[in-house]
Symmetry: C2
Subunit: 199 residues, 2 copies
């Protein structure tokens, strides 16, 4: 946080160290109760006990609340792929990166479920989610190319990894199973290896 923002916040009478988290929770609760389209930024700020100005310091708009984590996730995946030992095959480097991200997401399962229910209910948000996944696949392919993997192997490993992640994530969100996300990702990868082997 920049000094200017802190001073500005003090000018507002108080400094809210967890404003961002409170805004996310308030937004998700309201989207679930009233629907995404019916919720206004003013209502989100009020529910969080913060001002609209504070909201707009953290998020460009109400849609951004749901997708703000995507940039962080992408950076995390790209560095995990970059850091994998040279001996690791491309698909396994991708799967290991997704598994590590899955372990972080696992700690926010209830948040992830609520978020996914909001997204599933709105066509525009579903589109945005698909774009974020396509962008993750591109970023992973780029990370593999920087490891010296040429195309189409780099793109196919990345796309296959995202397919594995997508299916594992859906099972994690929808099933009552107690399996955690990293485990479901491993199982999905094994299943992909089995189906591409023609089994």
């Amino acid at each position: 946080m920049s000094a200017a923002v802190v001073i500005y916040d003090r000018g507002m009478g108080r400094w809210e160290p967890d404003a961002r988290g409170r805004l996310e929770q308030a937004a998700l609760a309201l989207y679930g109760e009233r629907g995404f389209e019916q919720t206004t930024v003013a209502e989100i700020a009020r529910r969080a006990g913060l001002t609209e100005r504070t909201f707009f310091r953290h998020f460009a708009d109400k849609r951004e609340v749901l997708f703000a984590g995507a940039g962080t996730l992408q950076e995390f995946l790209v560095s995990a792929v970059a850091d994998a030992p040279d001996s690791v095959a491309p698909i396994d480097a991708v799967a290991a990166a997704l598994g590590a991200a899955g372990a972080l997401l696992q700690e926010r399962r209830e948040y992830a479920r609520q978020r996914q229910a909001v997204i599933a209910a709105n066509a525009e948000l579903r589109e945005r989610e698909l774009i974020k996944l396509a962008s993750l696949a591109s970023a992973l392919a780029g990370a593999l190319r920087r490891r010296g993997i040429s195309d189409p192997a780099a793109s196919l490993s990345a796309e296959a990894g995202i397919a594995v992640f997508k299916i594992a994530f859906e099972r994690w969100i929808n099933e009552t199973s107690q399996r955690d996300l990293p485990q479901l990702i491993r199982e999905s990868l094994d299943e992909l290896k089995a189906v591409t082997a023609g089994k």
Copy 2:
């Protein structure tokens, strides 16, 4: 074409048997020349030598011109998967269906290239293209489930197939290579099999 439409067309003074194809060509030419956003339905109709009314009998809006083939493609893929012999593995049933569709697309390579250039230049159209691909993956997974393949194998085979198709299609559109689309799909599938085998 229904009798009512033919009569209506006759009432307009003439019947245009290839109105749809002419509208598609006119639209694509104008999108390429001026950009998608700058082109109006009136201009497309004028370029095709037809009326706006005729345009709207064939397409809901100017975006639909670019995606009208998606429903046909989806039905084609779903029946090809349904018709595959029982002995064929799910991923191979999907790949064979995509290869057969690729053979049809191959005959419209120049159209496909022009269309892809228009889509690449517009964020909204890129979103629509991703949604159509996601919808194809869902439809293929459904076709596999009706063959008795359970999830996650059905979904993974479908998603993997769409990844193979996407990469093959991009190469076909962008490369100067003389390889045709069905061949590129076969090569992409072989490459996917190699990368998932950890090679």
